[in-house]
Symmetry: C2
Subunit: 290 residues, 2 copies
Amino acid sequence: MDQYLKEQKAWIDEKIYTKINEFTSEGRLRDSIIYSMKAGGKRLRPMLMKATFESFSDSDPLYVSPAVALEMLHTYTLIHDDLPAMDDDDMRRGRWTNHIEFDEATAILAGDSLLTMSFELISSDPSLSSEQKVFIVHQLSRAAGPKGMVAGQMWDMQYEDLETDVDTLKRIHSNKTGKLIAFSIITGGYLAGLEEGKLQKLKEIGEAVGLIFQIQDDILDVTGDTAKLGKATGSDESNLKSTYPKLLGLEGAKQEKQKYERRVEELLGDLEADETPLADLIGYMSQREY
Amino acid sequence: MDQYLKEQKAWIDEKIYTKINEFTSEGRLRDSIIYSMKAGGKRLRPMLMKATFESFSDSDPLYVSPAVALEMLHTYTLIHDDLPAMDDDDMRRGRWTNHIEFDEATAILAGDSLLTMSFELISSDPSLSSEQKVFIVHQLSRAAGPKGMVAGQMWDMQYEDLETDVDTLKRIHSNKTGKLIAFSIITGGYLAGLEEGKLQKLKEIGEAVGLIFQIQDDILDVTGDTAKLGKATGSDESNLKSTYPKLLGLEGAKQEKQKYERRVEELLGDLEADETPLADLIGYMSQREY
């Protein structure tokens, strides 16, 4: 799996850097965009899109621009989330965050640029039909907007110092991380030509994978290895923020995760996709150690 | 003209508020979005789109979503530009800016929301064809991105304390304000069914109108009436920022503006659009006192 992930990441990275050069002008703004895009992300979202496509189609890849656009949009959220007014993080993945390496104004504009570019990229891809472009722009803007990811980020901040319950936690994460992960899987299946009923199942898989991912994140904060994670563990412990292990205990959190894993297995079975790149990648994400 | 502007504004406002309620969930984020969308903007960009459409077509209006999307996107730029890390403005049009009325994090997310919603709005409009949606998403994302408006904003900050020349000033404003104004005019013409050659002329008109608008802004900062403008005049004088009057003198700035006005007249003549809502609106914008 490690070799596969490495190859996939290299492939996506190359596409990303080409597109950034094409869609920006030289200067400090481009430098800051490239800085954050090269900050060592795992590229899990583009990989999920690619793996889903390849699980259901052996046609020419149609997912290149949507996958790169998704990673750009994801990177915009990281840059803005790290800002002093938001999570106020100086370090991410062992490097200075964008506003520390550059400055706050540049970081705000780099994020704004990446969000805007993601739509430019999709809408200008000659290998997609107009219908495909509209479907993807619509899905992505819904997933990322104020009834999706931005709402999740807003609630996440509002509940930072409040006791909460599992339902609220689920609602926050379904929006903050789940909807973009679901987007990656839905889009991969859509471009592979799956019909509506199957896309609905993929949507449910995507939402479950988003929660699995988040619960695993919370678990790793308790049990993880600082060196592998590239960030301090126990940080959730030291603030009031609710997490799955805090609300359910470590075993309870693991059981909650297993519940979603079983549902995903069931849905993958319905789609006859038990032994596909998508199934493998979800398995990896669910067990990841960093 | 005043009555016309008032009616147009009321029409656009109503569409905006309906769409915001549809595309957001209740809560602080929606409140802050509505706060800034209701902050008394003149709605010149949507009006330009509408006036252009009506100058070349008497079909059913197709421009409603693109016009509202454009005003949302414009409002996002105001919210982010006002942030402490950017222009650090506490007041806009006689009211607190978004980050003062709410807080910085909310203002950042309200801006992000509006930018994202603008693409959601266009891509989900049932009265537009897929080709029309793709054209508009593509034009808007190009105009607003890091080879357009965001680049202009970045340069504007970088040159804030530097002496500059007219060419640089023009490049900054062409990107910072010109490209979105050009977008409004191009899109109005495109939706009215104009062919490529005519759209090129509209593009040139749009770019000239953007510069006329900016030069007039600079002139008003010297000669304007504080009460009418709703902001202090002379603010450009008190910092190092280059303006047309500073570089060319007040008379020189007026002549520069007239140069673009004559070019616009010529192009409107080529398009046989001398006596249209578009020509009237441009005339008003060029002479506006606030």
